[in-house]
Point group: C2
Chain length 293, copies 2
Amino acid sequence: MTRLLKGKEAGEALTQKARQQVTELEKMGVTPTLLVIHVGEDPGNLSYEKGIEKRCTALGAAFRRLVLPSDLSEEDLLEVIRKANEDREIHGVLLFRPLPPHLDARRIENALLPEKDVDGMTDLSLAGVFAGRKVGFSPCTAQACMEILDYYGIDCCGKHAVVIGRSLVVGKPAAMMLLSRNATVTICHTRTKDLPAIARSADILIAAAGKPKIIGKDYMRNGQVILDVGIHAAEGGKLCGDVDGEQAEGTAAALTPVPGGVGTVTSVVLVCHVIEAALRQTEKRFDDRSGTR
Amino acid sequence: MTRLLKGKEAGEALTQKARQQVTELEKMGVTPTLLVIHVGEDPGNLSYEKGIEKRCTALGAAFRRLVLPSDLSEEDLLEVIRKANEDREIHGVLLFRPLPPHLDARRIENALLPEKDVDGMTDLSLAGVFAGRKVGFSPCTAQACMEILDYYGIDCCGKHAVVIGRSLVVGKPAAMMLLSRNATVTICHTRTKDLPAIARSADILIAAAGKPKIIGKDYMRNGQVILDVGIHAAEGGKLCGDVDGEQAEGTAAALTPVPGGVGTVTSVVLVCHVIEAALRQTEKRFDDRSGTR
């Protein structure tokens, strides 16, 4: 039988530490605060955002939302980010992407201070992920995959991990994190030849292809651990992932469900980052004041 | 018969463009200048450094060498780097690593301005490699591998590339560059199980294991392209690579020799980076003066 790797359980474990940190922050009079920025409304992000807001509330963090017009100028958006950088009451910023094409995404992403970059989009955060060092924060979805593996005690050392997808938000950072856990890692993408055969050779398969139910029986082998990063609207208002869950049932040793898998943990990771950011920023201010840096 | 992918030929092709850039710089009264910094003397770097000096001279770039005592303090080394950052006559800095253990390598590496980081060691250069963007410069050895593939017309698209080694100077950046060329990439390391079988599955094999002649017949399959990044002292004062060249002969479709392969191109890439850095810095100063930024 296939074991379901439930995001709720893995997420709960993460919130334990976060709750303690929030208590610490409360004593210092600090409420960890996330600012979510939308440039234009994108209904596709709604459920993810709702999840984040719910998590914030549950953990005692504040949630602010800013919806900017989609024809906003680059300078105006940079000004919004500059203000968030300076605002001591905002500890983390989540900028929903992709941005409209008239904006220089790299310039805007890098305008955010790495210490407030709770979704790992700045160059410094990316360098940290690439080098396996703690700089800025890791992209939340990739980290959520690792949290699930860790929570369920899935050892990566010496395993063959196959990552389908090479984006900077999931595929590449997940690959680097799996390497840090001593997995042998293969990165696949749209140009990969005979993807099913490579997927079958995986001990751990991370599906971030961005296509509904593309990972069927021909991609699977008995006993695999499959993490499904995809989330798509399916028939009848339901949600589905990149993996065909029915076909995985009975073949995979373990699988994250959709919904209730990676996405659930991702929103917890994000809020944990905000709390961690608030702690780092508060401690830094304290150190600066007392001259102990 | 195995084709030898000669570093000299691939390097020559690179110098063509570099020569034109040097001519441009001469007209502006600029001599591209590399500063090489040693903290303590390491005889292992001597042949690489000699190659760099020779290349500099051949291409009309200046070469400066600074040997610092191995017990130098962190502050003193940071001061040396700060001076190099400010010195308009130095366009690129190569800091030989590893640094002595009493120094905070990350702090020192990141003290260098990315625009002078001709060996890709700063966080911003690493982020550029990870994201596939032009920020700073790429680590020279990894880029040398790509230059050899490009020069010899070896198409990576859809090929399975296996990289043995996960360092920040070769393995990880080479993997990212192969991904950018649309290869499916597997990264292996000391914890990889059944490395020979994975190596045999490669169309393109990059050997950066750091062990002499470890890649023997059991790692090979007919028709592979093998790039040998290793360089080791062998019997009788000779040099050898990670690949057992005799065993590759007749099996591999193509192989870089050691010496005269990747290392040769690496020194050319480094000097090309210095020239490119000089051009960028000179153009930037020109733009700043005329207010056209």
